[in-house]
């Protein structure tokens, strides 16, 4: 009897949400009925989400993809001879040759979807631990130098240089320091953190361990939002296994160095994605924003020096150490080095994750990767960077994705999430939603955010109900701009400070949706 044929069925939440468990069961049952030797491995998601569940069959030529596979398709796939990679309407060819995947530059996501997320063996066999092993042989200061040279900026959205943050923590003497991973991925249109935590948890553990070595921290917390139960489960299982084999604990990889970590669960508050609120939450308090200074790097969790980085930032550390700072830095444009996992969401035919170097355009992502709208109607607006990000009209879709270029057009790349809307979207309604979201999620500490967002909703309602009187409407628009100005200038954190971005961009680029002809200041040219 020959060795079983390995069939991969993702168990990422995105696959589970479209019946991947039932597909896996059907494959095992039918293989059994037909006396075929099949081993089902539950991998992460490749991020080709319109094809989920994307099932891969291992053949001598490579892994062959079929998708999206429904449970009722499985018998037909066996009939067609899919175990040898045969043709079928769901046949996508060799996975690695699918253009959507082939055209990517996968550094941080190199293993996601390829391996069994919890297999220690898979992790090590696919390049895992190389970075950590190098770091263990380095002086802490040298590790930080590598991070600075790599040009990595925080992938959570604020884009602060990671190496500089680490240097501040390393230079703050203390008996205890912490590494905190911000896994409170609350922005609509973003799912890269979740895909990574569910698809390659050890890379995050490795990245946090390296951070600990670099700054002298011996303990870490991963703060995961409660909306991600599968990510929490995967991380907890990975941490337990890593501890068992000595990848975590008092003697990390036999080095005599100590590092351990645990998962903490959030409780549904968007604001806890803001780093100081997150610290308050970890300390067991309401997630109310702290005034800075002091910086968390100097006085963070429990008053101790703390590195707070996003999931993708920390998960990118191992490859920087493994391949060297220059290798990573040479991807990208200008001061935007390396790659970003862009997340294509909303009204797109081919939504999913695209890891690419900075510098491509939104248009490339929307059409070359995204395949245009899912509804078949023309695309009209794209919100980039989450609920606090600007809505970009088509005239701006050719601006290169580069942190500085986006700041120039009053937008932000943020976490790399983009949500596409077709021409049925009502932009006044989206602007209202942005204010409403801010009102719902405000922590309440500062007045511009707490009160301003509520008044913002009311003012947009007045504009919408403005009737035939253009003068009254103009007055309300003026008031709304004034209010946005106050929120931007007077809020303690990005929630109140950036909620005006979607509002103003909607007003500037889509004035007709507010019942006004054009809006001062004149719409920006691309």
């Amino acid at each position: 009897m020959s060795a079983p044929i390995v069939v991969y069925v993702p168990r990422d939440a995105a696959a589970l949400a479209v019946e991947a468990d039932a597909v896996a069961q059907a494959i095992e049952r039918i293989a059994d009925e037909r006396g075929l030797s099949v081993q089902v491995v539950r991998n992460g998601s490749r991020g080709l989400l319109w094809l989920e569940p994307l099932v891969e069959v291992t053949t001598p030529a490579g892994r062959v993809a079929y998708g999206p596979v429904a449970p009722e398709d499985v018998a037909g796939l066996f009939d067609a001879g899919w175990l040898t990679g045969a043709e079928h309407p769901l046949h996508q060819g060799l996975t690695e040759e699918i253009p959507y995947l082939k055209q990517q530059e996968r550094l941080t996501f190199a293993r996601v979807g390829v391996t069994d997320p919890l297999s220690l063996h898979d992790y090590a066999a696919h390049g895992g631990l190389t970075g950590l092993k190098r770091a263990l042989a380095m002086e802490p200061g040298h590790i930080i130098d590598e991070m600075v040279t790599s040009g990595l900026r925080g992938r959570g959205g604020a884009a602060f240089p990671t190496g500089i943050k680490w240097k501040t923590v390393a230079g703050s003497p203390s008996d205890q320091k912490y590494i905190v991973c911000n896994a409170d991925e609350g922005d609509s249109g973003t799912f890269a953190d979740r895909l990574l935590m569910e698809g390659d948890p050890y890379v995050l553990i490795e990245g946090m361990t390296i951070a600990g070595l670099a700054v002298g921290a011996t303990y870490g917390y991963i703060y995961v939002r409660s909306e991600y139960p599968h990510a929490i489960e995967t991380l907890e299982a990975a941490i337990t296994r890593a501890r068992t084999v000595g990848w975590l604990g008092n003697d990390v990889h036999g080095s005599g160095r100590r590092f351990d970590l645990e998962v903490r669960k959030g409780a549904g508050a968007y604001i806890c994605g803001e780093e100081t609120s997150l610290l308050e939450s970890l300390e067991g308090k309401r997630g109310v924003v702290r005034a800075k200074p002091p910086l968390p790097a100097i006085s963070g969790l429990f008053g101790k020096p703390t590195v707070i980085n996003n999931v993708i930032s920390l998960a990118t550390v191992p490859i920087i150490l493994a391949k060297g700072a220059a290798y990573y830095r040479d991807y990208g444009v200008g001061r935007s080095h390396g790659t970003l996992p862009f997340q294509l969401a909303g009204n797109l035919k081919q939504g999913g994750l695209v890891e690419k170097a900075f510098g491509l355009s939104l248009r490339d992502l929307l059409y070359e990767f995204g395949g245009g709208s899912a509804s078949g109607r023309p695309l009209r607006a794209v919100q980039v960077g989450g609920p606090l990000g600007a809505y970009l009209p088509e005239s701006q879709w050719d601006v290169p994705l580069d942190y500085e270029a986006y700041i120039q057009i009053s937008a932000m790349i943020g976490h790399g999430g983009l949500v596409a809307f077709d021409d049925t979207v009502d932009m006044a309604r989206m602007a209202r939603y942005a204010m409403e979201f801010c009102a719902i999620e405000s922590c309440g500490k500062c007045t511009p955010c707490r009160i301003g967002s509520t008044r913002g909703v009311e003012t947009i309602d007045k504009i919408a109900a403005g009737g035939a009187n253009p003068q009254q409407r103009a007055q309300q628009v003026h008031l709304l701009r004034d209010l946005c100005d106050t929120m931007m200038g007077g809020s303690l954190c990005a929630l109140g400070g950036m909620a005006p971005y979607p509002v103003l961009s909607a007003l500037n680029h889509f004035p007709q949706d507010f019942g006004i002809e054009s809006s001062q200041p004149a719409a920006h040219a691309a």
Partner: protein, 185 residues
């Protein structure tokens, strides 16, 4: 006799005393909710920043964080009842009253809106006969809004009893709700 003393002690305290004595008293309590809370506290209270893990564990076991548990938590962690109450009410995940038999969370964020999420939300409200943050009159489902499940490339998405579902249409939602009710009828 001992129990009675303990209970009156708890009722009169402002929560500043903290520590083992209060926990022992609570553990001996006749109320199952308080006894369970005390057991959870004994396990978790010594870790740094224990309040959220404690609240999660209590809600997991009791289905909510009942008012009677608040004082026990406050005493054990050396907090005021107001502080504990403040934390419970700050976080949308925590509830003071039990939910219905099943929970339906409908994503209301931008990505789902771009794919008909508001229409789906309206359908869910009509189907269950209740608004968000409320339960269907027959006690079958509690309806909650959620702002992103991380399934944005397959919008619109919902979560039913912790299980995610993507590319949901009104028809598909009806089938999913029926299936959930069958599983624990």
């Amino acid at each position: 006799m001992h129990q009675r003393e303990a209970k009156s002690d708890l009722a009169s305290s402002g929560g500043a005393r903290g520590g083992k004595m209060a926990l022992d008293a609570a553990q001996a309590s006749a109320t199952p909710a308080i006894a369970a809370t005390a057991r959870i506290l004994a396990q978790l209270k010594d870790q740094p920043g224990p309040l959220l893990p404690v609240l999660h564990a209590v809600q997991h076991e009791l289905g909510c964080i009942p008012a009677e548990a608040v004082q026990t938590i406050a005493e054990a962690l050396n907090l005021s009842r107001a502080e504990v109450h403040g934390v419970i009410t700050f976080y949308p995940h925590f509830r003071s009253e039990p939910a219905a038999r099943h929970t339906l969370e409908v994503c209301r964020a931008e990505s789902c809106q771009s794919m008909g999420g508001e229409h789906l939300a309206a359908h869910a409200r009509a189907k269950l006969g209740c608004d968000f943050h409320a339960s269907a009159p027959d006690g079958s489902f509690t309806l909650e809004p959620v702002y992103c499940l991380g399934l944005c490339a397959q919008s619109p998405a919902v979560m039913i009893d912790g299980q995610p579902h993507a590319r949901v249409t009104p028809d598909k939602l009806d089938r999913l709700l029926a299936r959930a009710q069958e599983t624990t009828a």
